[in-house]
């Protein structure tokens, strides 16, 4: 849920993807590297009409195509089979360089997690993005400060993600990842020769009091009562 606001803004006119251009090389590419954000992706894809309610309702039932980690299906607007952490940015750098060399005027947006940034490949990819001057690439880092075993700062403290991306040649914006205006203006950022990194400070479980900042909800299942509470809190919070 830390990425819900980012996803909502991305799919509300920022990304050039729609039902008509899903197969067009000109479309923007969105790559969800932290594949465990799949639920948020399914929600926006359903809202965009790429997925039906019947399809999303099969979530985590036997034999489904919609489970904890999004699985590539271009006909549904899912570009990447995510969540083998760190793979997505590397893939995105390849896609971006390919688009650039092909003379396409589109953009590639990759969403990674801050826990995911523990992986070395993220930084090999960042190095390549800077080296190849990928002005068509935007990396969003969902900094929710949590990973599987607990608080990021107590497990592997990255100090500043912004400084790291800057050092690799990125234009960097650091924002509140739940403020829609800030998200949109950061997503509009571009530079003639540099990739962009958006450091989005977010809250895991945003909007639901018993989930916020609680690593126990990294992957949890709601009871009906907790579901009702969560929905009423989310509606009240709008």
């Amino acid at each position: 849920m830390s990425i819900v606001d980012i996803m909502a803004v991305l799919y509300s006119g920022v990304l050039n993807v729609n039902k008509e251009n899903l197969r067009s090389p000109e479309r923007d590419r969105f790559i969800l590297s932290k594949g465990h954000g799949a639920v948020a992706l399914y929600a926006v894809l359903e809202q965009q009409g790429f997925l039906t309610r019947e399809e999303t309702n099969t979530f985590e039932s036997n034999g489904t195509s919609y489970y904890a980690h999004a699985h590539r299906d271009l006909s549904k607007g899912i570009e990447f089979s995510g969540c083998s952490l760190s793979l997505g940015l590397s893939f995105g750098v390849g896609v971006a360089l390919s688009c650039k060399r092909g003379g396409l005027n589109n953009r590639v947006v990759v969403l990674v997690g801050d826990g995911e940034c523990d992986e070395g490949l993220v930084w090999e990819s960042a190095m390549a993005a800077g080296n190849f001057s990928l002005s068509n690439l935007t990396v969003i880092v969902d900094c929710n400060g949590m990973q599987s075993d607990g608080k990021k700062s107590e497990i592997m403290n990255h100090l500043s993600e912004a400084d790291k991306f800057r050092a690799f040649g990125f234009e960097v914006a650091e924002i509140d990842g739940h403020q829609h205006v800030a998200i949109e203006s950061a997503l509009r950022l571009c530079h003639e020769s540099r990739p962009v990194a958006i450091i989005a400070n977010t809250v895991k479980g945003k909007g639901v009091s018993f989930m916020e900042g609680n690593p126990g909800w990294h992957h949890g299942i709601l009871t009906q009562t907790l579901f009702d509470t969560a929905i009423s809190e989310l509606k009240g919070g709008v």
Binding site: E60, H69, C83, G115
Partner: protein
């Protein structure tokens, strides 16, 4: 606190699952034998069941974050400095992402690191194919000198870590099954690396099984007995070094069968096939497991059924393969 299997303890281990029994129980007996041990994890401390160790030995617990290559590299540093060391991550990532590090440090440099791959096979169900470890044994088997253990139940996983640390040699332990997977053993027995265990005798068919699905093989054997087919089940808890002397003892059977929660290429079935291919004569070998494919995700019983590793499918496939004479 010795790992002793009985009716009560087998239930306790089963409740903890293989990782929980290994890190929450067996590890402490191992430490009594080998001394203070560093335990490194790649952000999988909680799911692997390391809570008790972290609380009791915080100065020996190191979480390197989600960074499996660095996990093995750092473990190698501790091993090089003479410390007993265990490094753990999901089986899929420890065997693939850090494969070169495992080859370099555990293989080439022979450092006595015990690596523990948790959630091997289909343990991570709805996380999907990126998280299934169905080729880890195949990969690890290619590394010279690396011992590979694949416990059949949680109590055995606890015994495996004790044996692995005492061996003071490079070891990979693959943990399969979830919490409450069936206990194979209800009374104590000796666990010796490289010595397979006959858990059910039989004269016509020999099933060589490894990991949690050994319980399914056992149930399939009972079904076959009811149909008049005498079936032995052997727990191959050690994949490497392979207990070839054990295989020889079943060379007069009508059919040999391997059962594993792993690709039929390169795992237990592959290892047995490589061995028997060198014999002058041997019975037919039926390799049951993942038939070189990916899956649409589902829950654990669904995935096991999809690759025909449930007891009914195992029995059925053996019946089909049996020579009619």
């Amino acid at each position: 606190m010795a790992v002793v299997i009985n009716e009560v303890s087998s239930r306790t281990y089963s409740r903890l699952g293989q990782g929980g029994a290994l890190f929450g129980m067996g590890l402490f007996e191992a430490i009594e034998a080998v001394g203070n041990t560093y335990v490194l994890t790649a952000d999988m401390g909680k799911p692997a069941g390391m809570g008790r160790f972290k609380t009791r030995c915080p100065e020996y617990f190191i979480n390197v974050g989600i960074a499996e290559q660095n996990l093995i590299g750092m473990a190698a540093g501790f091993a090089s400095e003479g410390h007993p060391v265990v490094a753990s991550a999901q089986a899929v990532f420890i065997s693939m992402r850090s494969f070169e590090q495992v080859r370099q440090y555990l293989g080439y440099m022979k450092l006595p690191i015990v690596t523990v791959g948790v959630s091997a096979g289909f343990g991570l169900t709805f996380f999907g194919n990126t998280h299934y470890a169905i080729e880890d044994m195949a990969l690890m088997r290619t590394i010279p000198g690396l011992t590979i253990l694949s416990p059949s139940d949680a109590g055995q996983a606890a015994k495996a870590i004790v044996a692995a640390l005492k061996a003071k040699s490079p070891v990979y332990i693959r943990c399969t099954g979830g919490l409450n997977a069936p206990a194979i053993y209800k009374s104590d027995y000796e666990f010796e690396i490289g010595k397979a265990i006959e858990i059910k005798p039989g004269t016509q068919v020999a099933i060589f099984a490894t990991g949690t699905v050994t319980a399914n093989a056992l149930e399939a054997a009972r079904t076959l007995e009811e149909k008049g087919i005498s079936t032995a089940v052997i727990d191959f808890h050690t994949i490497k070094p392979l207990d070839t002397a054990c295989i020889d003892r079943y060379a007069g059977h009508k059919l040999l069968v391997s059962v594993e929660e792993h690709n039929v290429i390169g795992g237990l079935g592959g290892a047995i096939a490589e061995y028997v291919a060198g014999l002058v004569a041997h019975p037919r070998l039926l390799r049951l497991g993942v038939k070189d494919r990916f899956f649409t995700p589902g829950d654990y019983p669904y995935l096991i059924q999809q690759c025909r590793l449930d007891a009914a499918s195992i029995a059925e496939d053996i019946l089909t393969a049996l020579p009619s004479s």
